[in-house]
């Protein structure tokens, strides 16, 4: 195994995910090519981790197969992941519902592109509903992390595995074409060894590694025909989600202390908004930025608290306004909540955001 410790590199977000996956001891990646995230599997195939750490990398016949391979691997207590972009994510929703119900830890990356349908390969954030409102059937949640830099692509790969195993729940990295394709400086984490089977048996006694003599059989399933039992399964999941909501909310604020106006945006859009905030501040307008890092669980309390002190909120997304619902729920009518978005693969420009801030929010309050 390679022994390099922390390392500074210039790389694409997609490449950073691949590097971080190997370094955090991932056991298996299963994927299907789709733009703008194909570099993840390409990088893995290029790095040949099966020769260094023993990690398995397999190109599946579809996203449906990929997510079910992840199910199989995760069922064995292994660190398994897949990645895709929006249309492929739609195909994975079936598998995610099963994985969530069977309580399997795994990491899924969605480098969003513009939809609906085959759409465009340009960046988008229009899979927010699908990601945090349960894209598949049934009452389930994915722990959803929204990276805004290449560094976070690497960091969140590790964090996602950590949270997935902590809660036995799938974790989603919800990125977009910008973060996937852009290159930035990134500090890569040191290598961590993959878990041995003995460690897996000790830490995850539910894993199907083969029933040892004298032990009970392990069954990974999402089937429960009796409604009373199925309700109990659901109540257990809901209790777990409350724990997640209590412990795992993450967000970042910028210039919020004295902010009269608040912009809420996630992922690369938050970076664009940061530039707009800089411009506004130069002109003496007191604007702050709140960037949710976890989209589920959502930083509702922080938004309510900061927005409540000010005069209005602008939500900016590369969608028709999806996270907007959660911002409005958080603010609960305390101040006006306005929206600015670009659709179908168009990235809002910093000056557009600044204009929207002035015309939609500030003007209305003057």
């Amino acid at each position: 195994m390679r022994t390099e410790q922390e390392e500074i590199r210039l790389m694409k977000g997609n490449e950073a995910i691949a590097e971080a996956a190997i370094r955090c001891g991932c056991d298996g990646y299963f994927g299907y090519p789709i733009t703008p995230q194909s570099e993840i599997m390409e990088t893995l195939m290029d790095l040949r981790p099966w020769e260094s750490t023993g990690m398995v990398v397999l190109q599946a016949e579809s996203e449906t197969a990929s997510i079910n391979m992840v199910y199989g691997a995760a069922g064995c207590g292994k660190k398994a992941m897949t990645s895709s972009s929006s249309p492929g994510m739609s195909l994975m929703q079936e598998g995610l519902s099963y994985i969530a119900c069977a309580e399997l830890p795994c990491v899924v990356v969605n480098v969003m592109r513009g939809g609906p349908g085959l759409g465009t390969i340009q960046p988008s954030q229009a899979d927010y509903y699908q990601s945090v409102k349960g894209g598949g059937h049934g009452d389930y949640k994915l722990i959803t992390l929204a990276p805004a830099s290449v560094q976070e692509m690497a960091d969140f790969t590790m964090l996602a595995f950590e949270l997935a195993f902590k809660y036995r729940n799938p974790a989603l990295i919800l990125a977009d074409g910008i973060i996937g394709q852009m290159m930035e400086k990134v500090v890569l984490p040191p290598y961590q060894a993959r878990m041995t089977e003995e460690e897996i048996r000790r830490k995850y006694p539910w894993a199907t590694l083969g029933k040892l003599r004298g032990q009970k059989q392990n069954i990974i399933t999402s089937l429960c025909l009796l409604p009373e039992e199925m309700e109990a399964v659901n109540l257990h999941l809901q209790a777990k989600y409350r724990q997640v909501e209590q412990n795992e909310v993450r967000y970042e604020t910028l210039h919020c202390d004295d902010a009269e106006y608040l912009i809420v945006a996630f992922g690369s859009t938050a970076r664009v908004c940061q530039k707009a905030v800089e411009t506004a501040r130069e002109q003496g307008i007191k604007v702050g930025l709140l960037r949710p890092i976890t989209l589920y669980p959502y930083p509702s309390e922080a938004i309510a608290r900061i927005a409540g002190r000010g005069r209005g909120v602008l939500t900016v997304e590369m969608s028709a306004g999806q996270m907007l619902d959660d911002v409005r729920l958080a603010v609960n009518g305390a101040v006006p909540v306005e929206f600015f978005g670009r659709l179908g693969g168009i990235v809002p420009a910093p000056d557009e955001v600044f204009e929207a801030l002035k015309t939609k929010l500030i003007k209305e309050n003057v």
Binding site: A60, A65, G72, I219
Partner: protein, 250 residues
Amino acid sequence: MNIIDSANLVYRKTPVMTDLTMHYCPGCSHGVVHKLVAEVIDEMDIQDKTIGIAPVGCAVFAYKYIDIDWQQAAHGRAPALATAVKRLLPDRYVFTYQGDGDLAAIGTAETIHACNRGENIVIIFINNGIYGMTGGQMAPTTLDGMKTATSPSGRSVPLNGYPLDMTKLLAELDGTCYVTRQSVHSLGAVRKTKKALRKAFENSMLEKGTSVIEVVSTCNSGWKMTPDESNKWMVENMFPKYPMGDLKDR
């Protein structure tokens, strides 16, 4: 005769089977095939090394009856799960247990690609030409003219296409090493099926590729016949379309 004396024992259920009463209809082939799988696991002494993948269909509860570690897959996806399990645990015996709807309709892609990659797994394919669990609807393997809940006047080729011989198709793939078609309607047939299963499980450690065992089966509830009538009907109607024997053994 003292029947409790172990010296007088004539039959002993393999301990790899659990003591649960099966939910299968009387006369159903699943119970027999389950027992054969359990016996092979027992005789090969691989209970601690075997991971089964259960399908969606009547055999969805296979995990209740065979006392090994199991994963239960979404409809049709068992070969994808098995692929990952075997790749990550290459010294384990991994098998899927699937019906005709699961393997030959909704899971066609996963089945063909697992076989084409030559995954070192065993695929057990129960083909009774009907969807048993959902109440007797038409399957891809339903014979021409055969009546089902969704082909009440009989399967019609112009409307529904031809019965799909999936096993023949899988035998064509370079990734499969052993493809055979068996049944469990007679003592002789049961013995042959068990032999085939044993061979398939042994193959999975030889890195030869995928082993596929189709068991042409009955569904007396779905076919609306007695178990005995079902067996006769199967021999007369299913066997001509799905003939017994090895299609491939390399």
